[in-house]
């Protein structure tokens, strides 16, 4: 293979990737700028709180329930090797509130919400609704993006808190019915070992993940290509980017919160 051609192709690929990164960062900056400028579309924020928060509760709750239950079983199996079965309640709780609650909740919301936002805004773009907003003196960034960012950032910590509680409940149910734990002892062990920062760090992660999910959905919706294929591509890209950003942000936040 011609090395010059390979080098050229690599350079073009890198330039394309950097250009895409620049556009995404620029979009983020614009969105943050519009967040500070009146008018504030509070009715839209309320509608999005219902769409993003309330309607995501079942999927986040179900995910957390089964995750907590499986986690308790796994920790029991592992800790039994060292005779440390007593640690099941506390490790299940810490695992849920620090990591699995926010991350799995974030991924489920990414699948449900980033896709829906990208498809909705993409369809609005294709059908000239974004142009219509502009001709009615309404800036689409302010009317569509900002309410979704605000609502997702506010709703995700609540979803995480609910998911954490249900996940711990799942672990409790398995612990008491399958693993032979005494109910009050299981709960006491859970509460005694959990610290404020364990819970707070998960909620902060939730807020960041919510912002990233809405940002990905809005970005790809606003930059959707033409036709059904363009909207489909935007939807897929929004979910992929939101998921990757959640996992990357989770690592960075964990480093920031818990590294020695």
């Amino acid at each position: 293979m011609n090395p010059v051609a390979t080098l050229g192709a690599t350079g073009r690929g890198m330039a394309g990737a950097l250009g895409a990164l620049g556009r995404f960062v620029g979009f983020t900056g614009q969105a943050l700028g519009w967040m500070l400028r009146p008018p504030f579309h509070l009715r839209e924020v309320a509608a999005q709180l219902v769409q993003i928060g309330w309607l995501s509760l079942p999927v986040v709750g179900m995910t957390a329930l089964f995750t907590g239950a499986a986690l308790a079983l796994q920790i029991f199996a592992g800790s039994a090797r060292y005779g440390a079965e007593f640690a099941v309640p506390s490790i299940t709780a810490i695992g849920m509130v620090r990591e699995l609650g926010p991350v799995l909740g974030g991924l489920m919301v990414a699948a449900r919400v980033a896709s829906s936002i990208a498809a909705e805004i993409g369809t609005m773009k294709v059908s000239e609704q974004l142009d219509a907003l502009k001709t009615l003196a309404v800036e689409p960034m302010q009317f569509l993006t900002v309410p979704r960012l605000v609502a997702a950032t506010l709703a995700m910590p609540v979803l995480v808190a609910v998911g954490d509680s249900i996940g711990i409940l799942g672990g409790y149910a398995v612990g008491v019915t399958r693993l032979g734990f005494d109910g009050p002892t299981y709960l006491r062990n859970t509460l005694d070992f959990l610290e404020f920062w364990d819970i707070a760090s998960g909620l902060v992660k939730g807020a960041v993940f919510g912002f990233l999910v809405a940002l990905s959905g809005c970005y790809f919706g606003m930059h959707s290509g033409r036709g059904a294929q363009g909207v489909g591509e935007a939807t897929k890209s929004a979910v992929v980017l939101a998921s990757v950003l959640i996992l990357a942000a989770n690592y960075l936040l964990t480093e920031a919160f818990f590294s020695a």
């Binding site: 008018p39 219509a132 502009k134 009615l136």
Partner: protein, 246 residues
């Protein structure tokens, strides 16, 4: 008044507008015709500030090269597909401008005015609470028209107002446009390739061909013209200077 001077617009290597110049005096109705892909919608977007022209000047309601936000209070626009907001009921679509612009109205007052505008385009109050997806194509166009005139703007734009409608509904929409433009004393610019719309709505006609206004003149002269390009288009013939493979 709507005025454009030397508008140029290209997308990559494709030069769409190559120096479009025209003026629509206050209270007149200009209809722009031209084949598919000749840049009629691009011209409209440049006029409204939705696309930035590469060169040239737009004067709209006393503003030079205005942004969409600046020109919005002076302009009403009917989009080709109506572009109604799916998540809002009909009355909120119509009252959208009234409830959000400067000097915004309360919900009750805005709804009353929306119902009044709906009546003007022939729709009863029972339509107000429906959502756009529940309406036929013709009804959506009427709602789009009601939204365009909600603030009684002095300038109106219509992008393919009869696209996708049957001949009877097309005639209804054309009659509504003509009536509303006359009633408001508005300056209007319509883009179409429906000759019925040209006959019903135009005071003047301009034909966009190869990036410029190839022909401009009074509507009455458009159909009797000997210009071969205009004649081929108005008569819908396949033979002539306009290529059929575009």
């Amino acid at each position: 008044m709507i005025r454009a001077e030397g508008l140029h617009k290209a997308f990559g290597p494709k030069q769409v507008l190559r120096g479009v110049s025209f003026e629509v005096p206050k209270g007149q109705s200009l209809v722009v015709i031209g084949g598919s892909g000749t840049g009629k919608s691009v011209l409209l977007k440049c006029l409204l500030g939705l696309e930035r022209a590469d060169r040239g000047t737009v004067d709209l309601a006393g503003l030079t090269n205005p942004t969409p936000h600046a020109v919005a209070p002076h302009v009403g626009m009917l989009f080709q597909g109506a572009a109604l907001f799916d998540s809002l009921p009909v009355w909120q679509n119509v009252a959208f401008r009234l409830m959000r612009g400067t000097g915004r109205m309360g919900r009750v007052e805005a709804k009353a005015l929306a119902v009044e505008k709906l009546a003007r385009v022939g729709l009863g109050p029972e339509v107000a609470e429906l959502f756009p997806a529940e309406l036929s194509g013709g009804m959506q166009k009427r709602v789009g028209l009601a939204r365009a005139i909600a603030g009684d703007p002095p300038i109106l734009f219509f992008d393919e107002p009869t696209a996708g409608l049957d001949p009877i509904m097309s005639a209804v929409i054309n009659a509504l446009i003509r009536g509303i433009v006359t009633e408001l004393g508005a300056t209007a610019l319509t883009i179409t390739h429906d000759m019925r719309t040209v006959r019903d709505v135009a005071d003047r006609v301009a034909m966009l061909h190869e990036g410029v206004f190839h022909w401009q003149g009074p509507a009455a002269e458009a159909f009797g013209s000997h210009d071969p390009v205009l004649r081929q288009f108005t008569e819908g013939r396949t033979e002539g200077p306009i290529p059929t493979l575009r």
